[in-house]
């Protein structure tokens, strides 16, 4: 762990008594029930739980797609629980990277354009955005597919594009929602390896999953049940995991 860095900067994501309630007809459902938790910088978390445990709601709150009904949520030390819709959009564009289960690429754009979408909505797009996008495409092994449309790519390739897209704005936090759910086990392993590499590079990653295999790859595990924390396991793999995939050269540097 990068203890010096983690101490110098505020935590990436900090939840303080976060509650999220929905109205379902006459009933009120508490998807998150006074949740308090801190996700530290450079950590790799798996959020697990059965369906209805509140993990999707947590992800939406963490991703600034949803606002807590009560409580506080801070990103990089800044309170975002009471921001307007526009301000939340800015936070998403500046600080967050999303990887979804169904890749969620935009069909009418090619690979390069898809990677560039998050920068498209920044008020002042950074210089050299396109070179960065090219480098990221290269990084996820799709440097020769830049002009392809999502329809022309396999599921694994699409998910790599999505990861490159999640990285293009140099986010503080990468959120992955069942990122391997639609992939066969071999491809899933490739994506997980990629996430391992990003973690090794110091990125903060939160993966929401119900698959034990995926949860097992993360550094720490947070289990939810009925909108509350059920258990927290830190440093579940004390020994570094080395991927046995023959075509991957990336080795865990931990």
């Amino acid at each position: 762990m990068r203890s010096t860095e983690a101490r110098a900067l505020p935590p990436v994501a900090e939840l303080e008594h976060v509650t999220r309630t929905y109205r379902m007809g006459a009933n009120e459902v508490r998807a998150l029930d006074g949740l308090s938790f801190v996700f530290g910088r450079g950590e790799y978390w798996a959020v697990m739980g059965s369906s209805g445990s509140g993990k999707s709601t947590l992800l939406n709150v963490l991703g600034c797609l949803d606002r807590p009904s009560a409580g506080r949520y801070r990103i990089d030390g800044a309170d975002v629980s009471a921001l307007t819709d526009d301000e939340l959009s800015e936070i998403r564009s500046a600080k967050l990277g999303f990887v979804f289960q169904s890749y969620n690429l935009i069909p009418q754009l090619d690979v390069l354009e898809n990677i560039l979408v998050p920068l498209f909505y920044q008020d002042e797009p950074p210089a050299g955005a396109e070179q960065r996008a090219r480098a990221l495409a290269e990084r996820v092994g799709l440097g020769d597919r830049l002009a392809h449309r999502p329809m022309e790519l396999s599921g694994g390739q699409q998910q790599r594009v999505a990861i490159a897209r999640a990285l293009v704005n140099e986010p503080s936090l990468i959120l992955a929602d069942e990122a391997t759910g639609n992939l066969d086990s071999h491809t899933a392993l490739e994506i997980l390896t990629l996430l391992d590499e990003l973690h090794a590079e110091g990125k903060t990653i939160i993966v929401v999953t119900h698959e034990p295999d995926v949860g097992a790859r993360a550094q720490h595990v947070l289990r939810l049940k009925d909108g509350r924390i059920e258990s927290v396991v830190r440093d579940q793999n004390s020994a570094p995991v080395v991927d046995p995939l023959p075509d991957e050269t990336g080795v865990q540097r931990r």
Binding site: L65, D66, S93, N104, V117, F120, Y121, Q122
Partner: protein, 423 residues
């Protein structure tokens, strides 16, 4: 605007539309036909009214024309084989106008003579008009060759005539008619000049005709040889007509005096004629009426065009609403990746405007072709004013904005979480 550049948004819109080429094309058809019909209808309307106004202007906008009209026969049609009908403007009318009216510059009497005109084997029935030399000046006719009637012709009751172009071409197809002789009824006349033909304007009595064939002779000559009693041959019957003057052209001193002169003439005629055996043509009034007609015409055309554009706009809105629903997920993705509501509004609005402006541009092209085809095939004049395509184009862009706002707003109102969950 900060954020995504406008050009990129337009490019994105175009590429989204190209994803469904046929649908996009069909969607633009409404606006396409709307704009093309706006342009085509304006061009045809403008051409028709221009033509009418030109004809009226040829009559002389300072003139008031009094004409003899045979009164309606309520009785005894066909009972007598021969009868005399007396009607129309009289010498007294002429004298009254000439002597007593203020603001009258010149007065020209015209008599029409019902005789056949011949040159050798060639014969025709033009209007033979006996009038004064000032006729040409007052009515603004243009001399093609030779001269018009002169005062000396009147003084000598000379047998001279002036032909309109059409008559000249028919009777003298291969030679100049000047100094040649033609036969009007039983007498020979020497041709001294020709006039350019003009299009006969519409009046209360007769619709607009192609052009008039006319032969002019000195008033005195006409009076001397033909008198005021004339025989008109009709199918199966002969008819005697007694008409002093067929037409009196009254020229007002200025355009402002025309209404005054017109009402004075009208009053004088009403007082002195027991039957309605006259008509009053005021080109200026016709001109004003033509302009009023044109305004109504434009309003009617405008509303038809607006309805078609409205329908086109609704078609576009319908498709855009379907598109927004279809692309709910894309909207969710974009929102998750940092798009603000206004970015989504802009994206769909631009897409709608691209559709409608695309239809508008195609419509302008079609709208410019239609008048050309009409002109080539239907022998109608059309005028495409430069403002018409511009107007049509702006309207189509406006249609895009107006009918794009609602779908775009609906897209932007979506909750990102809901939108991402949408299948």
């Amino acid at each position: 605007m900060k954020g995504p550049s406008f050009l990129r948004t337009v490019r994105l819109g175009v590429s989204s539309l190209l994803l469904h080429k046929l649908r996009s094309l069909l969607t633009t058809l409404g606006v396409l036909f709307g704009t093309s019909s706006v342009i085509a209808m304006l061009a045809i309307g403008e051409g028709a009214s221009e033509e009418a106004q030109e004809q009226i202007r040829q009559l002389g906008s300072r003139n008031v024309i009094l004409r003899s009209v045979k009164p309606r026969e309520d009785f005894a049609t066909g009972q007598q084989a021969v009868r005399v009908v007396k009607y129309g403007l009289t010498e007294e009318d002429l004298a009254r106008v000439d002597e007593t009216f203020p603001a009258v510059a010149r007065v020209v009497p015209v008599r029409e003579i019902y005789e056949e005109v011949r040159k050798g084997e060639r014969a025709m029935n033009p209007r033979v008009l006996a009038t004064l030399p000032v006729y040409r000046d007052v009515t603004g006719r243009i001399l093609a060759e030779g001269r018009f009637l002169a005062d000396a012709d009147l003084a000598h009751t000379a047998n001279v005539c002036v032909l309109s172009d059409e008559v000249a071409h028919y009777l003298f197809p291969f030679e100049s008619p000047l100094d040649q002789e033609i036969k009007i009824g039983g007498d020979y006349y020497t041709v001294v000049g020709t006039l350019l033909s003009r299009v006969r304007p519409a009046s209360d009595a007769a619709p607009a005709g192609k052009s008039t064939s006319e032969v002019f002779i000195p008033l005195e000559t006409g009076q001397k040889w033909y008198g005021s009693m004339q025989v008109k041959l009709r199918a199966g019957s002969r008819e005697m007509e007694e008409v002093d003057l067929h037409e009196i052209v009254v020229e007002a001193s200025s355009a402002e005096d025309v209404p005054l002169v017109a009402s004075a003439c009208r009053e004088m005629l009403t007082r002195n004629h027991t039957q309605s055996d006259y008509e009053l043509v005021v080109p200026l009034e016709l001109l004003l009426r033509a302009e009023a007609t044109k305004r109504i015409f434009n309003i009617v055309l405008g509303s038809i065009a607006s309805i078609s554009l409205l329908v086109g706009g609704i078609g576009i809105m319908n498709v855009m609403l379907a598109t927004v629903t279809e692309r709910t997920r894309e909207i969710g993705i974009r929102r998750a990746l940092g798009a603000k509501r206004r970015h989504i509004v802009m994206q769909f609005l631009v897409e709608t405007v691209v559709l409608s402006v695309g239809g508008g541009l195609l419509g302008v092209a079609l709208g410019l072709v239609i008048p050309a085809i009409v002109e080539a095939t239907a022998d109608m004049r059309t005028i495409v004013t430069p403002s018409a395509p511009l107007l049509a184009f702006l309207i189509s862009a406006g249609v895009g904005v107006v009918f794009g706002l609602y779908p775009a707003a609906r897209a932007a109102r979506m909750d990102p979480v809901e939108a991402l969950r949408h299948e």
